[in-house]
């Protein structure tokens, strides 16, 4: 049981990080960014090339991957979403283009790297034992990276300008524009930061389980689920939702079987969407804000 909870916590750390990236993009730009999936997958392939082909050290790999992924996210925004947004396209149009770009890029990855799964290491990893819990090296790394990253995210959102910018654009981007915010570059920056955050999560996960062209899709779905569980109205939402989701999945694995985690997650998502219409933690708003 403790072992399952610890595994859940590690998984949750990954979901929370990736969900934070998705949340930033979705909340700020209102783009339901399905192409987040291919951004995550591309990050793992980039990291694979850095680590396995060129033997970069791990820290440098993370930095290089984050930069490359941020560029990819930014490009997707500038090339695909920005022209649509300028024309006041509906969310349906944005969602369909996101699906399109995701399908196209995922299959590009498949053509370049083949459909075979790639693993980053061979053989079992060294493990660490804490009382009755056994964690392997990747899981320890996941927890150790998550804590400072979450702290930086929270500080940025709560104290830094990023949180204000995010809230301003989310609530009323026209007003933000009138007040002198450069909306287009702000959006591009948000896409870059969101993608970079998600790249860290995907590389951490890929170091553990390896990667393949469709690697990003479940990760994107879990991020969406984490955002819905945690709530989209506040900055803590994706972090809390991600951890909760990891714990729920490990409980499902403990009680039934691990292959039902996807189904259990999305039954929960449908229930939440239907019952609360939005999220678990309803943020109280003044009537004029509704």
């Amino acid at each position: 049981m403790e072992q399952f909870l610890a595994n859940g916590l590690c998984k949750g750390a990954i979901f929370a990080t990736s969900a934070a990236g998705f949340y930033l993009i979705y909340r700020t730009t209102k783009v339901f960014h399905i192409a987040h999936a291919v951004v995550c997958a591309a990050a793992t392939y980039f990291a694979y090339v850095c680590l396995v082909k060129f033997h970069f050290p791990l820290l440098l790999t993370f930095l290089a991957t984050a930069t490359a992924t941020a560029t990819l996210g930014l490009l997707i925004d500038v090339v695909v979403y920005r022209p649509l947004q300028k024309r006041n396209a509906s969310s349906l149009v944005l969602l369909i283009s996101s699906l399109g770009i995701n399908g196209a890029l995922t299959n590009c990855l498949l053509l370049i790297f083949g459909s075979k799964p790639l693993v980053f290491h061979s053989g079992p990893e060294p493990t660490i034992q804490l009382i009755s819990i056994i964690l392997n090296q990747s899981q320890t790394r996941q927890l150790l990276v998550f804590v400072p990253l979450a702290a930086v995210y929270v500080i940025l959102m709560k104290a830094g300008p990023l949180g204000q910018l995010c809230t301003a654009l989310a609530d009323n981007s026209k007003l933000a524009y009138v007040l002198g915010v450069n909306v287009h570059s702000a959006r591009a920056i948000i896409f870059a930061i969101g993608s970079a955050i998600a790249s860290v999560a995907s590389v951490l996960l890929a170091l553990d389980i390896g990667t393949e062209p469709h690697f990003g899709f479940p990760l994107m779905l879990w991020s969406v689920a984490a955002c819905i569980i945690g709530g989209l109205g506040w900055h803590w939402g994706p972090l809390i939702g991600g951890i909760a989701l990891g714990l729920v999945q490990s409980l499902v694995a403990w009680a039934f079987a691990s292959e039902w985690d996807m189904a259990a997650t999305f039954i929960l998502v449908i229930i939440l969407l239907v019952v609360r219409k939005r999220d678990l933690f309803v943020i109280r708003r003044r009537p004029e804000e509704a």
Binding site: S91, G100, N107, L111, A257, F266, V269, V274
Partner: protein
């Protein structure tokens, strides 16, 4: 000739799926992302039911009925959601159904799928040749085109479009939006699962991958490329989607590469269409209202 007939069959299958999805997507403006799961439910039901020596017609009707029931369940749950929420909820449903296909090994065969699905047998007449399958599929397409044409020209179809374009307006003149949306989802479920039954009987082998997210993208592309909310748009879209891999294969690409290249082309086409011609080739709904 055999080749042409099997391509014709594929075109018909995509046309049927496209026309099924066209009702919720094109005529009522809901981005339903679980069409492939209705298709799969039909195919699996046909495979499992015909294993217990039911006749073709019984198996076909049971598949369509189960498709309708599943569609009603997801429809009743999600019909009040809007925009992105509806898309997420139906995508979630698609994933749940796919998880059932691949994990409930006792019922569905799991990743190994269902083999040796018997061909349709009506009385003493068994469908065997590609020509007979193509004929069956063409008859189905003709029926569904006729049915859709009737629906769209009835007050029902006009109310559906009214609800899509202005929910408030439609409500004011006494149309219940929930009723119209829900019925569109259920009709979609019936047509898609009936198509699944025919598909399973022709292909004789099904596995969860045939009804996954990639398949969903193809069905979506059929509707959007052809023109959502038009009668003949899905037919045009199906022609393109089904013929494209054959053209790619003629460039000496193997099956897997041709599949990937097709997905790349379709993805790019979807993005470009959304930029330049959201109403598709046939010129239908522009996805403009934010429902």
């Amino acid at each position: 000739m055999r080749f042409l007939l099997s391509v014709t069959f594929n075109i018909c299958v995509y046309a049927l799926l496209g026309m099924a999805l066209n009702l919720p997507l094109g005529y009522s403006g809901m981005l339903l992302l679980c069409g492939a799961s209705f298709f799969g439910v039909g195919a699996y039901t046909y495979a499992i039911v015909s294993y217990y020596s039911f006749g073709f017609l019984e198996a076909f009707l049971i598949a369509a009925f189960l498709g309708a029931s599943i569609a009603s369940v997801i429809g009743i749950l999600t019909v009040r959601l809007r925009g992105d929420d509806f898309a997420i909820a139906t995508l979630a449903f698609q994933i749940i159904v796919n998880a059932v296909f691949s994990n409930w090994i006792g019922l569905t065969g799991g990743p190994y799928g269902q083999r040796d699905i018997p061909p349709p047998r009506i009385g003493s007449w068994t469908l065997e040749s590609n020509g007979e399958y193509a004929a069956l599929a063409i008859v189905m397409v003709a029926l569904v085109v006729g049915f859709s044409a009737m629906l769209v020209n009835l007050p029902y179809g006009r109310s559906l479009i009214a609800v899509r374009d202005s929910e408030l307006g439609a409500t004011t003149i006494g149309k219940n939006p929930i009723y119209y949306r829900l019925s569109a989802i259920i009709i979609c479920g019936i047509i898609a699962s009936a198509t699944g039954a025919i598909y399973a009987s022709q292909i004789t082998y099904i596995d969860p991958l045939s009804f996954g997210f990639d398949e969903m993208m193809l069905i979506l592309a059929v509707v959007i490329i052809g023109g959502a909310g038009t009668l003949y748009g899905p037919l045009v879209g199906a022609l393109i989607i089904a013929v494209l891999p054959e053209i790619l294969k003629s460039f000496a690409l193997d099956d897997a590469t041709a599949g990937a290249v097709r997905q790349i082309i379709l993805g790019a086409v979807l993005v470009l269409l959304m930029h330049f011609r959201p109403q598709g080739i046939a010129g239908g709904y522009r996805f403009s209202s934010n429902t």
